[in-house]
Structures are given as structure tokens and as C-alpha cells.
Symmetry: C3
Subunit: 250 residues, 3 copies
């Protein structure tokens, strides 16, 4: 596998996914590698995400690398008006790799284009979060011993949840997946993803609530409602209000 | 000593205190140990405390460990509404030990209960700060060559100062301590601690001001007034106003 | 070179500059030194500066050192009212060296006076930023193969830009420098620096705009307008307004 950026889960082929799963199992069994010895990795979090940041920083530490970075844009020069272009150009001169979280969709792709070093997208707005998807796939592999023939239930916020979209794209590359979407209408899976599945001839079903069909699931993928992604907080209130008395067809 | 959490200074026995003092002297003489080699330690500071955080991070670095964490809750996912339970569960999967500072009393004990890895309480509200107490005991040992038979003057904010309470609990385990409390009435040692000493048959004396008896002190433990612990800032102003003309009985 | 603080670019002699340039070239060619092995370096940023902080932290990491510190004063105990004196005294007990950025002019010199360990000034208000100057000199050396006989154009904010002042002081130590200042009147080079050059018999020229003479430049040193250094934001607006129709004498 060449040294390249990971921006979207579609950047990798099925074969590369499987290679990453294999490496992950190896690192999980014996994490104290010196793989990153002498390497400096930048973790640039333009919005806070403890869970994601600490997971990357743990991985870097366990693989022997050193860390520079920031955990939110308030304590960085972004508050002085420095552009993303300048920040990335600067850091790509300091670090051997950049891991980046940014609130704007498309920012990670842009960063990879201006960086001299590989960029890993740790989430760009509502767009992509590919490392989360790799982890999700690894969890499926560990519990099911396969990535083919998976009946996958996706539940909750299927509209704004970027991990849902990324996992859908990734799993669609494997044999005979079945997708079941459980969400209220306001948070339904966007049409573009349903169209994508249709065009690949992949089965999907939509439900407004849980029902008996859940028993067929290999994996149930639950998401939280991401209030920080809603444009208007009123949307969330409306949703919270309507949920208990929501429709019952499924 | 087994791998266990340090939440309250009462978690350890007198023998364990002495063992820690002995280890501390060894590490002070030769700090470049590889004791924590390959270990990742999380420093989770839900409220800022540079002094405490940097002291722990220095110790981790000098003992060969790696660090992940955050220095205040604004740059962590706590601002997204993540619960303490979830944060601790997550981090205990990443790190080999958790060092935690939190504004809520009891939070450290709760964290230790839900964590898979040992938790060190680096201060939970006005409750406990046991590592500070270990350091205080180490300072007493270094200067007095003993922990028994200490005449200890505690001065200043004896009401809200958690280090004062922890040191009282710790020193009460050693032979023949004498406690002298010097504080204005608003910041007097709480009754529960005086009751605790009485029940153990340990002598204590209360004073409103310094006086000649200070010459008998082996140790004078001065505290600052912790304005961040006062419920109403007005209390502090009142105190500041009354101090210069305070009562003179002692 | 003895272990000493770097507060102002005038702290070092011409010979020491040249020694640092030589060491820098060596480290640039082979950065994975163990020069700082076992050392803990504190990076204390009382105001955010990602560029400067990450460059120092990269250097520390590449030279094998460990890092403690904070990236802005909001997440440090400065918000509890801890004095600079106390912070520096505390950290000089933890770390083997302190790298400090502070908004107040003179703060770095003060820190060096109360610290037990060397202090590197990473910028103190509008005053000094000596490591930036060392880097600027290194860039001149790399591109021109000399530090003597340099015709240096300084452009932009010559009033508040501390790097401009530091570079002027440094380059004035070498043989036959020529200084050309290009700035609007509101941001002109302060009289004290012009007086300094005059007293050393060094040539300088002032211009309000670029003109043909720019062809004689060996180095053009461009600065940005540092809006965070302006006392009144109105100044900046005024400047932005007047620039397009500024005077044309040069």
C-alpha cells in the first residue's frame, strides 16, 4: 500500500480494506510496535472531539510516534485569521503525517491537495469519517468473521450521521449486503445513498420503527442524534417532541 | 502493592504510605526510569489546573510513559454533552491509567467504579486531592525525617481547602500528631474533621490568629483562599474586608 | 556555548549566531538526534500561536525530548489568578527548559530572572521573537551563502512587527548590511531603530511604496499586518482605507 491520504472511505479498494483489517488484528494483538519511531504526527482538531482525538493519539503513542497539534481552534492561530491553506502548508513542513478534524465539508480533501504529507480525515462536517468506518468494519469482522453477506440495521440519525454514510459506502463493496434503515422521516437516509444502492443492485428497506424484522440483523448500528450538526436547534426540538408519538408503519 | 485506584487518601494504609515515600525518594534520586515504558496514561482535566496537570505529566514523561488527554472541558467532548460515564469507559479502553481532575465531589470515586484501569484522583471539587497529600507527607518526611510526633499548624482556608482535609486524614494515622488550626471563623476547620480527631483521641487546637504558640510548630501548612470554591463571590469580599480588623483571641 | 536563556536576539554574539547556523544545518540534515533524551521541555503559551508552538514542539520531538505545557492561558491556572512568577517558579522545578510566549513586553526577561532553568523567548508582545530571527538568518544563509553584505528590504508593518526589529538588530552585527524599509507612514520603522543604525554607521533608506530599487534586494522580508497588536481596531480600519490611495513618493 502506497503512502497516501485517507479522506473518503471510497479512497480504498476492497483489497485494501482487507489488508487494513489484517494489520489491525496484528497491531491489536501486539501494539507496542516501533512502526512510527522517529515520526512526528500532527493531530489538528479544528473542532473538539475527545473520543476521536484520544483514539488517534493513543494509536500514535502505541506505535512509537510523537505528537504535535491542537484540540480546538480557539487555542490555535485560526483565531488570528490564519487560513486552512496556510495552516496545512505550515504543518506539512513540521510533521510526517496530518490527522485532521474540521467542521467544513470538503476541507479534508482540500487539505490533502495542498499538503506535502499524507492526510487522514478524522471527520469533515457531515461529510466523511473514514477511520470510524474502518473501525466499524473491523468490529463487524471480529464479531461475524466476515464482511460478506451482512444484514446491517442502521438506526437513528441516518440523515446527518456521517459514519452511517461512510459505512454504507464501504459495506456496499462486499458480497450480498442487506441494508435496513430505521429512522423517523426527518432523519431518513438521504436519497443519494438510496440511489447509489439501487444502481449497484443492492437491497435496502426503510422502517419508521423497530419491529420483528430486527431479529434478522447481523449487526445493529445505533447512532446518536448529533445536535451539533443541526442547522437550526428548533429542528431538534421538533424532533424530540414528535418522537414519542411518531408514526408506526415500518 | 496491587494495581489499584487512588481516590481518597484513606484508600491507603500507613504501611503503603511509607512504601510510597520510599519509592518517591528513589525516583527523586534517579528519575529516568523506564517504569512506564510502553504505557499510555490519560490526564483528564475537566477543569484547568496547570500546576497539578504539569506535575503529573512531568512525572509520566520522566518515568517513560506516553500521555493522552485534555486540559479543560471546553476543548473536550464534554461540551457535546458526553457523560462522565461514557468518557471514562472510552478512555479506559485507550489508556493504561487515568489521572482525573473534576469539579464535582465524588466524581473520582464514580470514575474508578466504571473504569477498567486504575484511576488517580487529581482533585474532585472540595473533596479530595490525595496526590497533593502524598507530596505534602513526602515534604514532611524530607524535612523532619519522620511522620510520627509532628506538631502541624494549618493556616488559612481550612473550610474549603481539600488538601488540608486530606493531610489531616493522612497524618492522623501516624503516632502522636498535634494539630493547630489558624483560621478566621468563616473558614474554620469543619466539625466533621474535628469530630474525627476527637474520636481517635488526637489533640487539636483552634486559633483565630497567629500567636506565640507558632514557635512549637514542626510544620506550618499555609493555604491560599480558593476563590473558585466559594459559592458566592460576596463571601470572599466580606472575608477580605473583615480580615484586617478580625478578632484577636487565639 | 554555555546553557543560557535566549530572550533577545542581542543576547548572542556574531560568533554564537554562526555556531547556531552551523548546528542548525547539521540538525536539518539529520534531525533524529537524541540530544534531548531524558529531558522534559515546557512550552508555556500564554497566548495562542500555533505556528510557533508546533515548530518548537516538532523540534523537541525530533531531538528526543518530552513536552509538557499549555497552548493558551484559558486552559491554565492563569485564569485562577496565578502570577507569572509562581507559574515560572513551579515549571522550572518540573522542566529542564522553558519555552514561553506571553502578550506582555518584558515578561520573558522577567521569567528568565526567576527561573532556575534556561528560558527561550517565543515572543513577548511587540518586543522580541529571537528564535524567529534565528530562523530568518538561517534562511538568508541558506539562500545567499552569507550573512555579510546583504541588501535587505523590509516591507509592511515595520512599527509593530517584532520580527522585523529583531532581524534588524541581528543583521546589523554583520558586515556592510543595507536596509530598505517599505511601509505606509502609520507603520514606519520606529525612530529608535533608525537611530540605532545611524549610530553604527549603517545605511538605511525609507520608501512608501515598492519601486525599481527593489531589484537591488538580496532578500525581501514581507510582514503581515498584525491586527492583534493594534491598540485600537480603528487604527487598522483607517489604515486599510488609506492604503489604496496612499502617497507615492518612495
Amino acid at each position: 500500500m502506497s503512502q497516501k491520504s485517507l479522506i473518503s472511505i471510497t479512497d480504498f479498494s476492497k483489497e485494501e480494506y482487507l489488508k487494513i483489517m489484517e494489520l489491525s488484528a496484528k497491531f491489536e494483538a501486539n501494539p507496542n510496535q516501533s512502526l512510527l519511531k522517529g515520526k512526528v504526527i500532527a493531530t489538528l482538531f479544528f473542532e473538539p472531539s475527545t473520543r476521536t482525538r484520544l483514539s488517534f493519539e493513543t494509536a500514535i503513542n502505541r506505535l512509537g510516534g510523537k505528537i504535535i497539534g491542537f484540540s480546538d481552534s480557539n487555542s490555535s492561530s485560526v483565531s488570528k485569521g490564519e487560513s486552512l491553506h496556510d495552516t496545512i502548508r505550515m504543518v506539512s513542513n513540521y510533521a510526517d503525517m496530518i490527522i485532521m478534524r474540521h467542521p467544513l465539508e470538503g476541507s479534508a480533501r482540500y487539505a490533502a491537495e495542498v499538503s506535502d504529507v499524507p492526510v487522514i480525515n478524522a471527520g469533515d462536517g457531515a461529510n466523511q469519517h473514514p477511520s470510524q468506518t474502518l473501525l466499524d468494519m473491523y468490529s463487524i469482522m471480529k464479531t461475524q468473521n466476515r464482511l460478506d453477506d451482512i444484514n446491517l440495521f442502521m438506526v437513528g440519525d441516518l440523515k446527518y450521521g456521517r459514519t452511517v454514510h461512510s459505512l454504507l459506502m464501504a459495506m456496499s463493496q462486499f458480497k450480498n449486503p442487506i441494508f435496513n434503515f430505521v429512522a423517523p422521516p426527518e432523519l431518513a437516509m438521504p436519497d443519494e445513498y438510496k440511489l447509489f444502492l439501487s444502481q449497484k443492485g443492492i437491497c435496502y428497506f426503510e422502517h419508521l420503527e423497530f419491529n420483528d424484522i430486527i431479529n434478522q440483523a447481523d449487526i445493529i448500528y445505533m447512532t446518536r442524534v448529533q445536535k451539533e450538526r443541526f442547522i437550526a436547534p428548533a429542528d431538534l426540538t421538533k424532533l424530540a417532541n414528535c418522537c414519542p408519538c411518531g408514526p408506526t408503519i415500518g
